[in-house]
Amino acid sequence: MLLKVDGLIKDFGGLRALDSVSFEVREHELVGLIGPNGAGKTTLFNCISGHVPVTKGKILFDGKDITELPPHQRAKLGLARTFQVYAAQGDLNVLEYTMVGAFLRTNGRTKARDIALETLKELDLLPWKERKVSEIPVPGQKLVTMAVAVATNPKILLLDEVAAGLNPQEIGWVKGIISHIHKDLGITTVLIEHVMALVMDISERVVVLDAGRVIKEGRPQEVVNDPAVIKAYLGESFRLEETR
């Protein structure tokens, strides 16, 4: 078991954002995390990455209790993530930004540069390397942050809505990149996504969150046919084929 979330509770003041969430991610798995807005998906990521403290419960990563660790130490252990809301403001270009990720594993500039170039090549983003991140449209920036996260050489990658705002053709492209990260680079991936055509196609397992609880967990086909999931999130008229 690579990641195990056990009875996680997160309260924001009087609001219980996560209510005893438990789930597991096995090594080399690609897990989709879906649910309506406000279900607590991003909060769950924030708890796992250590960006917000948990109220109660445990997070185990690679056999180690990381519940109390600060985010940067979790990253060192091999936990990487992207952010749903992110807009670059600085003057870093794509290559330099990717190098920041690579610097987690090396202190040498030449080495970091090599890792960064290799990562950008793997993710098909090499043509962007000289572009300033802040000058790339926001959907594109998310792909860059994905590359930066991969450059940290993680064991697990948490992707928060990387396909939001993309057109169907671009979604196809991103799908290819994520599959490549998962299959060829061998990085375990957890994916928060609203784009069903993406998440249902590549996930091996899907976890559905609603109002801070896991309401269903299973293979994509099982999940889309589950009455509770249809009621809470997909809607009565949902047909997966139509989203493609």
Binding site: S49, G50, H51, P70, P71, H72, Q73, A75, K76, A80, R81, F83, Y86, A88, Q89, G90, D91, L92, E96, Y97, M99, V100, G101, F103, L104, T106, N107, G108, R109, T110, A112, V133, T145, V148, A149, T152
Partner: protein, 336 residues
């Protein structure tokens, strides 16, 4: 050694910039041989000192985006350490300068730890406060001369004295400072290429992302702050030997802190040449405003008004200063 390679590597800059900086370096080297007035010489010395102060500020303030308005306290620690060490114990400059840097860095760790728990404006205000507190302490501390300050007598230490750094002619100070200036540029270039430099730029962009990338944000800021401090403290030491008369008011006042920040902000915060450009514009302007308009025309305080005005213009027009304007112009020209 990769650190040394990084310090000497300017290949990532455009050719034109490298040639221009060689030309500037050459000019700085031959400047004392040219027939300029002693006022010009004094201004150039001020330029070198403030350019290095500005470079120090630029690490944490420019690359790291942490607006620090308390750099004067380190000018003070550097200046006082060398002066007190000389007057009380006759310790030569080359020992007391590193000692001053060590004390400054130690102090920077002590206050940096709580300071960097703060963000944005709160951080800026807290840096002002620490600097002012230190100044107030020095103003009542008899051992260091209290508010009257300390004076280095040229009778007691006859020039030229290389060990104590006491000279009569400005040209000695000029070349010494020029050496420090070049060293500062190389250290800056190292920093820019180091893992820490990249991390700071990422922190400036977004701290939450930085944390997710395994960066210990708090510690990276403290380390960079210490580096900035070392720059400023070393220059403070030379500055004291040069003016030979230090008071808490001229070394640790808010004006100095603001001026140091302005050097980098006007020139271009977060760029290699920014602080140098800023100092090249501001130092002559400062001399003119203070000596001429302030003293002769009786417009005391006019310099502060102008600085305030510059800050407003930078904030409104181009946050990256003159260098930002240049890059924008270059970008427009190269665009099809």
């Amino acid at each position: 050694m990769e650190a040394i390679r990084n310090a000497l590597d300017f290949k990532d800059l455009p050719r034109s910039e490298v040639y221009l900086s060689w030309a500037v370096a050459l000019f700085l080297i031959i400047f004392p041989l040219l027939p300029f007035s002693s006022f010009a010489m004094a201004t150039m010395i001020q330029f070198l000192i403030f350019a290095v102060y500005g470079m120090g500020w630029n690490t944490i303030g420019g690359y790291g985006g942490q607006v620090d308005l308390g750099k004067a306290q380190y000018v003070g620690i550097g200046a006082y350490t060398t002066t007190v060490a000389l007057i009380r114990w006759d310790i030569p400059f080359w020992v007391s300068m590193p000692l001053g840097m060590a004390i400054s860095v130690l102090w920077s760790f002590m206050i940096g730890y709580p300071l960097f728990k703060l963000k944005g404006h709160y951080f800026a205000i807290a840096t002002i406060a620490t600097s002012l507190v230190l100044k107030d302490l020095f103003e009542v501390w008899g051992f260091v001369g209290a508010a009257r300050g300390l004076h280095i007598s040229p009778v007691k230490y006859p020039p030229p004295d290389f060990l104590r750094l006491i000279f009569k002619e400005d040209v000695y100070y000029y070349y010494l400072l020029l050496g420090f200036f070049f060293l500062a540029v190389f250290v800056m270039n190292w920093f820019r290429h180091s893992a820490l430099g990249y991390r700071l730029r990422c922190i400036k962009d977004n701290e939450e992302v930085a944390k997710a990338l395994g960066i210990n944000v708090h510690w990276a800021k403290i380390k960079t702050y210490a580096l900035a401090t070392a720059y400023v403290s070393a220059m403070g030491s030379v500055h004291a030997m040069y003016i030979k008369n230090i008071e808490p008011e001229d070394t640790m006042s808010l004006d100095i802190s603001v001026l140091i920040a302005l050097m980098a902000m006007l020139g271009g915060a977060g760029s290699l040449w920014g602080p140098i450009i800023g100092a090249a514009v501001l130092v002559p302007m400062k001399s003119y405003l203070k000596e001429w308009m302030g003293a002769k025309m009786g417009l005391i305080g006019i310099d502060l008004i102008i600085y305030g005005f510059i800050i407003m213009v930078i904030a409104a027009v181009e946050p990256k200063g003159l260098w930002g304007l240049y890059e924008r112009w270059k970008g427009k020209r190269s665009a099809p």
